[in-house]
Amino acid sequence: MEDWEAVDVLLVEDNPQDAELIHRALKKHNLVNRIHTVEDGAEAVDFLFCRKKYADRDMVQGPRVVLLDLKLPKMNGLDVLKSIKANEHTRSIPVVVVTSSREDPDIRAAYALGANSYVVKPVDFKGFAEAMSQVGLYWLLVNQPYR
């Protein structure tokens, strides 16, 4: 439990309502102190590689897990995933794909590109919050990243 301060989630989600609800679910279970939300793929890449307005961010500061929606403006989720897994510094960051449907053909593509897990956003938000916190717990606490 001494690692709390290090927990850092990057949430890539263009829908502000979904973002707020995910944020709330994670906070509610006291899993994360710091969540950073970006609204499109391009900004996600900027954040991860400390470019443009994130230029003064230290890459060593995480994030420890990325929650990635696949349907994004500008640069879509798969491209973001590709960039993460292509770079040796970010390759080890676990990526959890967040999708609105289990039927999404992109899930398969995401796994092929190295996604670590996926979560379906249910209409029933309680279920979603539950799922989200399980995933968060697993990737943030149980699964020790290789640093």
Binding site: N15, Q17, D18, L21, R24, K71, S100, S101, E103, D104, K121, P122, V123, D124, F125, K126, F128
Partner: protein, 595 residues
């Protein structure tokens, strides 16, 4: 039968049937003509030989009569008949008679022996064959009859001479008409045989001979030696002739060879005159004709057969191309074109086929495109519809959690309705997604144990309390070939329906059965639930069509549409029977070999 074989056979038939008809006619007519000709020929030969025989006899008769009327012959015969052999007159008279008259006559031919018989005792007074002299001939017909007129005794076998013989007797009379002696001439039968043989070419098998009433040959037949009065002949023609008939016939001759024979009864001499010719020789031209026609027929058959094969090949070749094209298109190669240059009907058909294929290709491409668009549309619509629903549900949750104490009971009820409806809409979207997925997913067919599948689906869909209430029967269903996910979807929907619509029964019965019929597997699921009115049966399998209100039974109206889609994808059918408040029965089929 293949078109090619049929065309060839028809052509051959068309050629052969008339040819055979013509052949038969020609053969028949030819044979008839030749038969008539042969018969005419044999008949006339017979007539000719008959008249020659008569002439020969008559010539010899007249010659004998002329001899008998010579004054010197009369004088010598008178001396021989009235004087004793020792008288000096007797010897010179006999010498003169034999040397100058009978002997000279003998040299002209016709007779082999001439002799004078005494009219009193019938003793031979003088003969060109001296050994005959002094013998009695008083019982011979030529003597007894010859005393009064010229008489021809027909052929008989002479025991004394040990040969066949024919004798003419004629009276020698003085000026007053009194009988002096009888002059007899033994005819040369070799001449008769020669007459019979005359006129027959060497090649021909034509054969003329005489037969007497004892069936003995009188003259030598062409194909026998020393037959005369030694061999009997009992052929059909001879027997017929000996019974007194003149006719022609087809029979086997004395050699056993089939012949055509003409025969004539010579009543004056009790002889049968027979002229015969081998049938093989007579019919030789007909046989030659038949051989020629046969040769022509064979040639024609080969020619027509070749022509038929060529013709049918030229007809069926483009058809084969068309068939290959149709199969190619059937395999999915829509770009295939027959492209024929032929200007005939089959060429037109090929071009029409190409046009059709082109249109088909265009239509299929369009259909595929619009199908994809529709799927993408359905997918993204249901996808995007979920986001606001999540928001509605999630934010109502926030309201419930954070503003709990500031909302009254009515407010909380309303929030409940909002969340329930959002959830329902979510179910509708899920149903739509499944619906669009059913036509999209690739099928992987394997063998499915339907009994186990139906039972496990039933257990998944029901609680232990449900199972208390429901009498579920579903044993020994025949296994099916199909996509496990799709087949599972079918059972999920049908069993869920049966459970749902029989929920208000105290004792619900759900019965699943299956059987094999010809090439189909038929499965049935029957319940005793709410049922439906058969009036609306055609709406049952349409998307969003419901026969019950949401108040009565919850539902999206997509389940049965999904079932139908899954079954259709396997190549099966689905139908249903129902009665309000009595129950419903659903039937569906799957092909035995899988979709």
């Amino acid at each position: 039968m293949k078109l090619r074989t049929r065309i060839t056979l028809i052509l051959l038939l068309l050629a052969i049937v008339p040819l055979i008809g013509v052949t038969w006619l020609a053969y028949h007519n030819g044979k008839n003509t030749i038969e008539k000709q042969t018969i005419n020929h044999l008949d006339s030969t017979n007539l000719l030989k008959g008249s020659e025989f008569h002439r020969w006899i008559n010539d010899n008769k007249r010659s004998l009569q002329e001899l008998a009327q010579r004054p010197l012959v009369k004088e010598y015969a008178g001396i021989l008949a009235t004087h004793d052999a020792s008288a000096p007159k007797y010897f010179s008279a006999k010498q003169d008679l034999l040397v100058h008259h009978l002997g000279v006559r003998l040299q002209y031919g016709g007779f082999t022996e001439l002799f004078v018989i005494c009219p009193g005792h019938g003793i031979i007074l003088a003969s060109t064959n001296s050994r005959q002299e002094g013998k009695y001939r008083d019982n011979r017909r030529y003597f007894t009859e010859g005393k009064s007129h010229t008489y021809v005794q027909s052929v008989y076998y002479s025991a004394t001479l040990e040969q066949s013989t024919m004798v003419i007797g004629t009276p020698i009379r003085n000026e007053t008409g009194n009988l002096i002696a009888v002059l007899a001439g033994r005819l040369n039968l070799t001449e008769l045989s020669n007459i019979m043989e005359q006129g027959c070419s060497l090649r021909s098998t034509e054969d003329t001979y005489l037969v007497n009433t004892f069936n003995f040959f009188v003259t030598e037949p062409r194909f026998g030696q020393n037959y005369a009065l030694r061999k009997v002949v009992r052929t059909q023609g001879v027997e017929d002739c000996l019974s007194g008939r003149d006719d022609v016939g087809f029979y086997k001759d004395y050699r056993g060879v089939p012949v055509i024979g003409a025969y004539k009864w010579l009543a004056d001499y009790d002889l049968a005159l027979v002229t015969e010719m081998d049938q093989s020789e007579a019919y030789a031209p007909v046989y030659r004709l038949a051989e020629q026609i046969g040769g022509i027929t064979l040639t024609v058959i080969f020619l027509i057969g070749g022509l038929g094969l060529f013709l049918s090949h030229s007809i069926t070749q483009p058809i084969h191309q068309l068939v290959a094209g149709a199969q190619e298109i059937g395999r999915g190669n829509l770009d295939f074109q027959v492209r024929t240059a032929a200007k005939d009907e089959i060429g037109a058909l090929s071009r029409a086929f190409d046009e059709m294929a082109e249109k088909l290709r265009y239509n299929i491409l369009q259909l595929e495109a619009s199908n994809k668009e529709l799927e993408a549309f359905a997918y993204s619509v249901s996808h995007d519809l979920r986001a606001p629903l999540r928001a509605i549900d999630g934010y109502v949750d926030i309201l419930k959690e954070d503003y709990h104490d500031r909302i009254d009971d009515e407010g909380r009820r309303i929030m409940g309705v909002v969340q329930r409806e959002a959830e329902r809409m979510g179910q509708l979207i899920d149903g739509l997604l499944t619906y669009s997925r059913l036509s999209r997913v690739e099928m992987s067919v394997s063998r499915i144990d339907m009994t186990t599948l139906a039972r496990s689906v039933y257990h998944e869909l029901t609680t232990p309390e449900d199972r208390e209430r429901i009498d579920f029967q579903g044993d020994s269903l025949p296994p099916a070939m199909g996509d496990p996910t799709l087949i599972r979807q079918i059972w999920v929907n049908l069993i869920a329906n049966a459970v749902k619509f029989s929920a208000d029964r105290n004792r619900a019965v759900i019965k699943i059965s299956g059987k094999t019929k010809e090439n189909e597997l038929i499965y049935t699921i029957e319940d005793n639930g709410a049922g439906f009115d058969m009036q609306y049966v055609d709406k049952l399998f349409h998307v969003f069509q419901r026969l019950h209100s949401s108040r009565e039974f919850d539902g999206t109206g997509i389940g049965l549409a999904n079932v139908q889609r899954a079954i259709l994808r396997h190549g099966g059918r689905i139908w249903a029977h129902g009665e309000p408040d009595k129950g419903a029965t659903f039937y569906f089929t799957l092909p035995r070999k899988g979709g």
